[in-house]
């Protein structure tokens, strides 16, 4: 199988699910005739037509709310919010409605939709095209939140998300859309929701990351290896539900952990990981968990590279925790 990038993996998976299941429908701003702001839906409008790939007006609440209606009716909509920074106008529909429909109706109604959205910094997008809002989403019972870091995982998780009966937020790490390249199995390749992936095995320290930060962590792991430190690198792949087993098992073995997120640390996802590790692996911990995160600021435009975790910051954290 030829190597493709993350964007191509998403595009091909959407095409294949549109072919396989006539109730799958895409909707979003600029996704049809234009093919998407990042070309994620390129060619799909021409191939499947305006009844399957629907251009929507500039209203994220409308995109998500309409998708909710369509999913109640029995379709399997895949709405897109063009940047995760623009999820907030849709938040009432996402948090109050989609996440709660099944529970509040005793299972009589449900929203099997997959909300795709490019997230994260690293493309000089400034404050409103760089955010990582996963903590707000992962905090919500009723939502499923997944984030691939490789083309194979993008294809597999997207397929699983579309086929899931739950509302899934599919976060797409835009900074690695084109640079994350790899093989994607053909056919009906799926990746299970709720399963982390061990990228690289090691015994000295666990590093946990997701999305674009997996690649940053991998670089840091190589740098650490030069100093003789072997990293057990885990790509979470799903944020809600968390694969706590994989995470705890690793830290129980290494006793040391570094957590990497683009989003700021206060009340961020790494805080949840820290709590889980303290609760379930306290006696194995040989050092406090170290979080390497974005700064406690909105994402700046000019100095973005100072905001984001990079391989050197993660390597320094690895060294710090190993030497505790």
């Amino acid at each position: 199988m030829a190597d493709i990038n993350l964007l191509q993996a998403i595009n091909e998976t959407l095409a294949s699910e549109l072919s396989e299941d006539e109730s799958v429908v895409l909707l979003g701003e600029d996704i049809g005739k234009i093919g998407g702001a990042f070309s994620a839906t390129e060619g799909l409008f021409d191939k499947f037509g305006e009844r399957r790939v629907i251009d929507m007006p500039l209203a994220e609440g409308g995109v998500v709310g309409a998708a909710i209606g369509m999913s109640l009716y029995g379709m399997r909509p895949v709405p897109e919010v063009q940047f995760a920074d623009f999820l907030y106008p849709a938040f009432d529909q996402i948090i109050s409605e989609a996440a709660k429909y099944r529970y509040r109706s005793g299972g009589q109604y449900a929203c099997p939709l997959t909300l795709r959205t490019p997230y994260g910094a690293g493309i000089r997008g400034g404050i409103y095209q760089s955010q990582s809002p996963e903590a707000y989403l992962a905090h919500t019972p009723g939502l499923v939140v997944v984030v691939p870091s490789t083309p194979a995982d993008a294809a597999g998780l997207l397929r699983s998300a579309i086929r899931s009966e739950d509302p899934v937020v599919f976060l797409e790490p835009k900074s690695i859309y084109r640079s994350a390249i790899g093989p994607v199995p053909g056919g009906d390749h799926t990746v299970a929701i709720g399963q982390a992936r061990t990228v690289k095995k090691g015994d000295h320290v666990t590093v946990i990351a997701y999305g674009a930060m997996v690649h940053v962590a991998a670089k840091a792991a190589s740098l650490a290896a030069e100093a003789g430190i072997e990293v057990d690198l885990i790509d979470l792949r799903t944020l809600r539900p968390l694969d706590a087993d994989t995470v705890v098992t690793s830290v129980a073995r290494t006793g040391k952990v570094v957590l990497v997120t683009e989003a700021p640390s206060f009340c961020g996802y790494a805080a949840e990981l820290t709590a889980v590790l303290v609760e379930q692996a306290l006696l194995h911990l040989e050092a406090p968990p170290v979080r390497v995160t974005g700064l406690e600021t909105p994402v700046p435009y000019a100095l973005e590279n100072l905001y984001l975790p990079n391989a050197e910051r993660v390597r320094a954290a690895i060294e710090q925790v190993v030497n505790f």
Partner: protein
């Protein structure tokens, strides 16, 4: 807002021989049926207010005065249509096939409630009637109903969606978003705006600087009509015609139903003269009764018998609901996700497979 009543569509009050359009086609039996429901809705509302005052239920929002809009609109729908109601639309629930026991079970949030007592009183769910419970946030249903309509068009399904809300919802962003989307996509939706005006106490905060809510509709690219919300046949007529347009592919319609509501004053204040004045001139039930009387369809003995039977049914439903226990604690985590264990499912299904929790349309296509 001025009292611009001259432009309201009215049917009742006209000579019975001059009725035209949809109301003229209603048979005596259908009219009697409609009347039974409005009597039921009023009696049920009064019973629920008593339950609230007695502290037996935790919350309740009165629907007195809105019987003509709820029931008149619902009678114009057909099986296969969808309804996204507001909080005061028990009439829609009952016309769509909801039972009194289903209604009271939900109010008491007991183990027999189809939704496992998950929601506060008034959020009824009825998938077999394609009736979607009102949510907490006001206005979210405007977009969702439009979305159902879009799906209907994609599937070439010749049905319609009734989205009902009070005028407060028109202040929300979702109102604009949903209406705009409905216009762009010719969604087969009937937007029923129940504009409520108050006899007493003093008028509440304005939701709009405009004189009439229906005036907004031209900016969305479809049509609207303004009716006397206390005239059940006017409401029926407007919704019937709007539904016909919708299923013919002519898109959405906005129906503004103007209603004068009566709210009981505070304890200790004598509101009887306000109430009497409202009853005489604005009560939708009284007006419908007079109309039926003129047509020879109503008589006092029939009503007395009807009220007696209805009260008995209501009392039974309340007693059954009251005596049913709360949902077992073992159900607490159920249904957050498709997998009943409380965590997201790893089992994947294709669309069309009758998955648990998918709406009625999905199940029928499975």
């Amino acid at each position: 807002m001025s009292d611009t009543r001259a432009d309201l569509l009215s049917v009742i009050g006209a000579d019975v021989d001059e009725l035209t359009g949809a109301p003229a086609t209603l048979s005596d039996d259908q009219l009697r049926s409609m009347y039974e429901v409005v009597i039921l809705v009023r009696a049920l509302d009064e019973a629920c207010m008593r339950l609230l005052q007695a502290g037996e239920i935790g919350l309740y929002v009165s629907s007195t005065g809105l019987e003509a809009t709820s029931v008149g609109a619902a009678f114009a729908l057909k099986e296969g249509d969808w309804a996204f109601p507001s909080f005061r639309d028990s009439g829609i629930y009952l016309v769509r096939g909801g039972t009194l026991r289903g209604y009271t079970n939900q109010l008491f949030a007991n183990a027999a409630d189809v939704a496992n007592g998950r929601q506060t009183p008034g959020h009824h769910t009825l998938p077999e009637g394609r009736f979607v419970s009102p949510s907490g946030p006001v206005g979210t249903q405007v977009v969702q109903g439009t979305g159902v309509g879009i799906a209907m068009r994609l599937r070439r399904d010749p049905h319609a969606v009734l989205v009902s809300f009070g005028e407060g919802a028109t202040s929300q962003g979702d109102f604009h978003t949903g209406m705009n989307l409905a216009g762009i996509h010719s969604s087969p939706v009937i937007f029923l705006c129940q504009t409520q005006r108050w006899v007493a106490p003093a008028p509440r905060q304005r939701q709009s600087a405009a004189e009439r809510y229906v005036d907004c509709v031209s900016s969305y690219g479809f049509t609207g009509t303004r009716v006397d919300g206390a005239d059940i046949l006017a409401v029926y007529s407007a919704v019937h015609d709007a539904r016909a347009r919708a299923v013919e592919g002519k898109g959405a319609t906005f129906v503004e139903a103007v209603i004068d509501r009566y709210s009981p004053p505070q304890i200790g204040v004598d509101g009887r003269s306000d109430r009497d004045q409202w009853s005489r001139s604005r009560d939708p039930i009284g007006r419908f009764r007079e109309h039926l009387h003129r047509r020879g369809i109503w008589e006092p003995a029939w009503e007395d018998d009807l009220i007696g039977r209805i009260q008995e049914r209501i009392d039974d439903a309340i007693e059954l609901a009251r005596s049913c226990p709360a949902p077992p604690s073992s159900t607490l985590l159920d249904g957050v996700y498709a997998d009943t264990s409380g965590t997201p499912s790893t089992k994947l299904t294709r669309s069309g497979a009758p998955g648990r929790g998918a709406g009625p349309a999905a199940q029928s296509k499975g």
